[in-house]
């Protein structure tokens, strides 16, 4: 199956291992990976800050870049959600609305793609230890991908997955919120870490590098012995 990877800017620049794991995992599942070099960012930082004009330029660029893809797969619930929002953002803008719709229709978050399109639930991964999973807000509430990550994690050999208390509460990232509203963000991420500690997890797993950068960055600052992993990395462990 031909998969066009939208790796996201965060992975391209800061979390290269997540990108590598995504490629290796999908290839193992029989996919051929294509990577349009022109890809940049989905436009979310500008869009969520109210800079719609600037965001739309980025979005048009991404629509053009991914025009010929069969399936677009991305290791981020939030960036997938942004692609899905494009038709709404270009509503009434005839040609672009149509092109945005075509882009949205073929966009999948990584775990969603594996479970719903590839119809695979056990990717043959192995990781020893106890983990808890952070359900990121955009992926769960806006994209509606709730079960796929759990389905895949359940089949990881050696891994015990325990529910995260108050999982529905945001981790406090929220893009520019994390810097604009630092003191509030700090309280939110601290509560999230307390919940992770409460279940004594060795690993905190997530499917969004934004949330993971926030939670992971705070965990590191506080020197907590919790390892933060993207779900692609977990599923690529053998």
């Amino acid at each position: 199956m031909n998969v066009t990877l939208f790796v996201t800017c965060l992975v391209d620049l800061f979390h290269v291992n997540v990108g590598k794991a995504t490629v290796e995992l999908l290839e193992r599942l029989g996919c051929t990976i294509h990577f349009p070099e022109g890809q940049t960012c989905c436009g979310q930082p500008a869009y969520n800050s109210g800079y719609v004009k600037e965001a739309k330029e980025a979005m048009k660029h991404m629509i053009r870049t991914f025009e010929h893809a069969e399936y677009i797969v991305t290791p981020s619930g939030s960036c997938a959600t942004m692609f899905k929002e494009y038709p709404h953002i270009f509503q009434g803008d005839g040609e672009w609305e149509e092109r945005a719709q075509r882009l949205a229709d073929k966009t999948y978050e990584l775990t969603q793609f594996i479970v719903d399109v590839l119809k695979v639930e056990d990717v043959g991964a192995r990781l020893e230890g106890k983990a808890t999973y952070h359900t990121s807000c955009h992926m769960t509430r806006l994209l509606g991908v709730k079960d796929a990550p759990f389905t895949l994690l359940q089949h990881v050999k050696g891994l015990e997955v325990v529910p995260l208390p108050n999982a529905h509460n945001c981790c406090g990232f929220g893009g520019t919120f994390s810097v604009k509203m630092g003191p509030i963000s700090e309280q939110m991420v601290d509560e999230k870490i307390q919940c992770i500690e409460q279940v004594e997890a060795d690993y905190l797993i997530g499917a969004d590098c934004g949330c993971l950068m926030n939670i992971g960055g705070r965990i590191e600052r506080k020197g907590k012995p919790i390892r933060v992993m993207h779900i692609a990395e977990v599923l690529n462990c053998r």
Partner: protein, 472 residues
């Protein structure tokens, strides 16, 4: 209390909220209880998403035809012997209410909870006239007794206070001598209030839903005080926001079902009272005179704009009860009687951006509010629209942010610039990097690294790795 609560600058209020350990514990506990109860009540009712869709449709239809239904309501109230006054501003509403009160030579007024009377600052206007205004909802009563402490939640206004604090307030102000047991506290308030109902000249209430087809008003309460406020005094004044109306009893029933479940997880509240006009011949109680004050106060300016859906709100506070930001900062941080996500959307519309420009940013856009709203107001999208308005129309965004976003726009729309920028990024931040980590970031990174570590950009980007590997 007016819309605005004067408690310092936004960031000071937040700081104060964050350090109020008691309040945060109370809010977190209440959020968890109310969220669970709401979900259980929705589950028990079944087909919750269909109910929400119906609620949304009713509210949208009513707002689209608001002029028609307001006219119908007004005619029907008059037919039943009531008086109707349309107030465009808070001042007009207060003037009218004061005129009615003065004409009755009223001295004592009992009041049942109403957010809109808080919004228009009605109590102050009546007190200026020399009247005593007594709040009769337990929560509001506590706040009033405690030197007019502002409400911190639209359904549970005294959520930020614990029973020991309430006991102390009662001891100091009401000669209370018993313990902090809620039953004893409530009983004392009840004794104090009972006498007031009997001797009040005017009763003032808010209105959950006015029913256009019959000219009735609906009050949804748990304490029964609204019934006393409307049954005993000779004159009743009901104040409603102009959007709080339904076409018929049928729609009222749907919205009440959504309201009680969303607000407190109850199938029904203890009292759901529908009142139509003044007392008629043969009726045993009710006021001799009934006045309905319909308040605009900025609402009609929202109609027909991209923010219209905020007027769908039925004031259940489900969005407040799931908001992770409200959870940590509490209601007073919003600086408005309307707090939480609905407050963050509504306050800038009613009170302007000068006082409330921070509120649209006090959200991670996590959409918990949108998911909880029983009438499907896209709250997080409206917060985004506020941000857009602040940037594009109000021009209130900081210059550094504008420049950064401009640069982002250029970089993300051009593969060449993006590639160049991402290539030089590791070198650019190299002076700040130790062990692939940035602990004390420059410029915009500082706010991040004040709290967390920031990963240094990797020397080999993902795209470089992929290229070397031979993928295209």
């Amino acid at each position: 209390m007016a819309l605005k609560i004067n408690m310092g600058e936004f960031h000071e209020r937040v700081e104060k909220g964050i350090h109020n350990t008691f309040m945060r514990g109370a809010v977190a506990g209440a959020q968890e209880r109310l969220r669970t109860r709401r979900l259980e009540a929705a589950e028990e009712l079944g087909n919750w998403e269909e109910w929400r869709a119906l609620g949304e449709e009713i509210r949208q239809h009513t707002l689209e035809n608001l002029d028609y239904y307001l006219m119908q309501l007004s005619e029907n109230v008059k037919k039943r012997g009531g008086h109707v006054f349309f107030a465009q501003t808070a001042e007009e509403a207060n003037d009218y209410i004061c005129r009615v009160v003065a004409s009755k030579q009223a001295k004592k007024i009992v009041k049942s909870k109403s957010m809109v009377t808080e919004e228009i600052h009605m109590n102050a206007a009546l007190e200026k006239l020399g009247c005593e205004v007594i709040e009769t909802d337990l929560g509001e009563y506590i706040l009033q007794v405690d030197d007019h402490d502002p409400p911190s939640h639209i359904v549970a206004p005294a959520l930020h206070k614990n029973k020991e604090q309430i006991r102390d307030v009662f001891k100091e102000k009401l000669a209370y001598t018993k313990t902090e047991k809620p039953e004893e506290l409530a009983l004392h308030a009840r004794h104090m209030l009972r006498h007031e109902y009997m001797t009040a000249d005017v009763g003032i209430t808010g209105c959950n839903f006015a029913i256009a087809e019959s000219g009735s008003i609906t009050l949804v309460t748990n304490e029964g005080n609204a019934d006393l406020v409307t049954a005993l005094p000779k004159t009743q004044i009901t104040v409603m926001g102009m959007e709080r109306i339904v076409p018929t009893f049928e729609e009222m029933e749907v919205l009440v079902s959504l309201l009680t479940r969303s607000a407190v997880g109850q199938k029904l509240t203890s009292y759901i009272t529908v009142l139509t006009g003044p007392r008629e011949e043969g009726e045993v109680d009710g006021p001799e005179e009934f006045h309905l004050v319909i308040v605009d106060n900025g609402r009609s300016d929202i109609l027909g704009t991209e923010f219209q859906s905020v007027l769908q709100c039925i004031r259940c506070a489900a969005c407040v009860n799931v908001c992770p930001v409200y959870r940590h900062i509490g209601g007073h941080s919003y600086g408005s009687i309307y707090s939480g996500p609905i407050g963050a959307v509504l306050s800038p519309l009613l009170g302007g951006y000068d006082d409330y420009k921070e509120l649209p940013y006090a959200s991670t856009l996590c959409a918990a509010c949108t998911e909880a709203c029983p009438v499907k107001i896209p709250l997080h999208e409206l917060l985004l629209k506020h941000r857009q308005t602040i940037v594009e129309r109000e021009g209130k965004a900081p210059i550094s942010e504008k420049l950064a976003m401009k640069a982002f726009g250029l970089g993300a729309a051009s593969s060449l610039l993006y590639k160049l920028g991402s290539k030089i990024a590791p070198t650019a931040v190299n002076p700040f990097t130790t062990n692939d980590r940035i602990s004390k970031g420059p410029g915009p990174l500082k706010a991040w690294t004040d709290i967390r570590e920031f990963p240094a950009p990797e020397k080999e980007r993902f795209r470089d790795w992929l290229k070397q590997r031979g993928n295209e």
